[in-house]
């Protein structure tokens, strides 16, 4: 008989080294697999489409809450501005009347002020005494002179006042500390307050 290398023989024969496991072996493995499957199912990730739905709902909710908060804050600001204006009229030695469309506004000021209209403020409708005030348009250095308006003010000193309209235009008035202005607007509601 031809002599054979033991290593080769082992290699060849090891392939035939097959043993049937006991039935109980599979049962043990199956038990473990079932447990593992249950555990996996428990921590099964949420399917992608449900994640997308949940994310969308979340975004909508967040957007809703944010816009509600912003709206509330905006409202509060407007309300606050009204209150602030009213307060400033008293504390800052302002006197004012009106604030509604078509009303005229009379006030006294001692320092720089900002006038802000929530709607378009038409400067041609601002009535002041026969003094000069300048309108500076937003982003431009052009000043318009307004003169010869009904004179109702009595001044002892000159001071520059800054008014800011809702359209961004600045109205600068050289007026007395104790000046008195009468302003009327043909449209819009205005809020008047002092620049701090």
């Amino acid at each position: 008989m031809e002599e054979k290398d033991l290593f080769d023989l082992f290699r060849e024969e090891s392939e035939n080294l097959v043993e049937q496991p006991q039935a109980e072996t599979w049962q043990r493995l199956e038990k473990r697999l079932v447990t593992s499957r249950k555990r996996r199912q428990k921590r099964e990730p949420v399917p992608t489409h449900w994640r997308v739905v949940a994310a969308t709902i979340l975004v909508i909710l967040i957007a809703g809450v944010v816009s509600w908060i912003v709206a509330r804050e905006h409202e509060a600001i407007l309300r606050g501005q009204k209150q602030f204006a009213a307060l400033q009229f008293l504390q800052g030695k302002w006197s004012a009347s009106g604030g509604k469309m078509g009303d005229s506004l009379v006030f006294e000021a001692q320092d720089s002020t900002i006038l802000r209209g929530v709607k378009t403020l038409k400067f041609k409708d601002i009535l002041v005494g026969n003094d000069t005030f300048l309108i500076q348009q937003k982003g431009k250095n052009t000043f318009f002179n307004y003169k010869n308006q009904p004179y109702i003010l009595k001044y002892t000193d000159y001071q520059t006042f800054t008014f800011l309209a809702s359209d961004g235009s600045n109205v600068r008035l050289r007026k007395s500390i104790e000046g008195r202005f009468t302003l009327s607007f043909d449209e819009g509601v205005i809020f008047l307050y002092k620049k701090m």
């Binding site: 002599e3 290398d5 033991l6 024969e13 097959v18 697999l33 593992s36």
Partner: protein, 177 residues
């Protein structure tokens, strides 16, 4: 069912496919376990653990390689882990024994050996010899790889193989008489 379909179904935790895959590979893998572990009971424990890992990690299998080879590697690793855990994997080298070995004579055999006889021969080897022999001769690992796997030096791996061969030769002589 093709191997690809079987793997795919197992990836989806299909119980039937798992059973089918087990039945296809378990006998061969138990044979692998038995080459490393003498006790059948322990070998079956290792088989359960290894097959569980196969199913648990089947998604990690790269379809480019041999699936059976992949399972076999898991089984061998599991068997080695078992031997380590049971502290059976002691690799001692008796230098005097090593010096008395005739390295020149090739280890050959005159008659065919059945798989069962091979297993009996392997069972008679000390665990260290048997493990290195299995890894080198049957699994085809190199000494550098065996050294890494068993955390021994390359020379120890080589000497274990020489000793295993010598022991095997003596056992074969007994068998032939």
């Amino acid at each position: 069912m093709t191997e690809y379909e079987l793997i795919k179904s197992c990836c989806q935790q299909d119980a039937k496919a798992q059973r089918f895959l087990y039945e296809r590979y378990a006998p061969k893998m138990l044979g692998v376990c038995r080459r490393y572990i003498s006790s059948r009971e322990d070998a079956e424990d290792v088989l359960v653990e290894a097959m569980f890992k196969v199913f648990d990690n089947i998604q990690a299998f790269q379809s480019a390689g041999s699936f059976e080879g992949w399972i076999r590697r898991i089984v061998v690793n599991e068997a080695l882990m078992f031997l380590r855990k049971k502290r059976l994997l002691t690799v001692d080298t008796d230098v005097s024994e090593l010096n008395s070995i005739d390295h020149a004579t090739p280890l050959s055999i005159e008659h065919e050996l059945a798989a069962k006889e091979i297993l009996q021969l392997l069972e008679r080897l000390p665990t260290g010899y048997r493990t290195v022999f299995n890894l080198f001769v049957i699994e085809g690992y190199k000494h550098i790889e065996i050294a890494e796997m068993l955390n021994i030096s390359i020379n120890t791996s080589k000497s274990q193989l020489i000793l295993a061969k010598d022991r095997m030769r003596r056992e074969l002589e007994k068998l032939e008489k």
